[in-house]
């Protein structure tokens, strides 16, 4: 599939960018309920989407500073955990993003079908 040595590197970069674009939507989709970082990572991993801590935590803070998430500290089992949840704006943005995602996936399906045609 990937033949010469330049291609795997290019593939890795493109695949990373592709995944990075999806991560925000994935995280927002799981924050309708109060959740702390590690729980969110575990949940995403269970559904087949791996995200490392070094990526998720800064992302959550960015979404909070953009006004999409609210957060609060809760101490459980003597360990403080920062819980995040979608606020009203976050919910609206998520709905719009889901719409956008569905349109995109439809378009992509159509486009990719063409590549599957036997030549």
């Amino acid at each position: 599939m990937i033949e010469n040595s330049a291609q795997p590197e290019a593939y890795d970069k493109i695949a990373l960018e592709l995944r990075r674009g999806v991560l925000i939507l994935a995280a927002l989709s799981q924050l309708k309920e109060n959740k702390y970082g590690y729980a969110l990572i575990s949940q995403l991993a269970e559904n087949g989407l791996d995200i490392d801590q070094g990526t998720l935590y800064p992302l959550l803070r960015r979404l909070e500073s953009q006004g999409l998430l609210d957060s609060n500290w809760i101490v459980e089992d003597s360990r403080p955990r920062r819980y995040y949840v979608l606020n009203a704006t976050g919910k609206q943005v998520l709905d719009a993003l889901v719409q956008e995602w569905r349109t995109l996936t439809n378009v992509m399906e159509t486009l990719l079908k063409e590549t599957e045609q036997p030549r």
Partner: protein, 340 residues
Amino acid sequence: MNHLIERYLQAISRELPANQQEDILKELRSSLYDTLEGEGDGEPTEERVVALIKEMGSPRQVAAAYYPAGQYVIGPALYPMFITVLKIVLVTILSVQALLVGLSFGVAVTTRSLIQELFGLLGALPAAAGWVVLIFWAIQRFEPKAIPEEEIFDPRKLPALESYNEPVSRFEQIFSIVVNVIALAFLWNFAQSGVLTGIEGLAFFQNPVIVQFFPWLFASSVLDIVIDIVLLWRGRWETRTRVAGILFNLFSLVVLFVMFEGHSAWLRAEGISESLVIWTQDPEFFFTNAQATGMILFRMGFAIAILIIGVETAVYTYKLIRRRMNAPISPVTGLVSAHR
């Protein structure tokens, strides 16, 4: 050595923005311990902790992700303006300093002072560049609103088409400025004393022709420096700079020709041969008649300059005509007809 997680967090904390440091560390700490706990009961092995930390990335890498605007001195939004300002500042300083050095060289001639001045000139450039960086860093850091937003874009206001304009050779222009500054220094020296002085200010020989036409030579050098600076600034030859270059060269040719003729007339009046053949006939001539030797050499120098500027003028003219004769261009799109 152990305490790996706490040492890791400590290393991250040094790279974090101070106002969020505590909060971020608290969250990372709880997440790291949650991860270890989630993997099994009991004390985690050192290998496991090392693997977890490696997976998360180096402290610098982790901290960098918390700077949303990125970690740079001058960001992409300000960078084009930064480069423009830097160019203006450096060219201005270089020109002004070169002029000052030239003038001081003309007034007090010692080799040491010239070298010192040249070093001073070079030293001023990094300092100026440093100030520009500092100012732009401050704008980015404290005045984010000053960063130009996407301007209202009007295609009609795009700069004129320059694909047919030849780029200016920076080396040539800077070399020309340096040569002109040195010429100005010598001329200034002449104007002050009426005598060509060598190093250490010793009188070498008198040149009445240069003294007579001093303002014209001075004007010619200053004009050339002005044209060189404009060209450096514009970066590309345009019709108007080509025309200005040709007109200036014609002016220079007239001045140089007058100088050449002036020297010839002086030599004829003195009854001295105009060529250096005189040296082969009389090797002592140089020592016995330094002024005549100087006049012969200057006359030769002007002849060479006439030749060089003559060729340059011919090249400018050819390039201007060639540009005019380019295939017609569509007025709306700018596409060359032949390629349509």
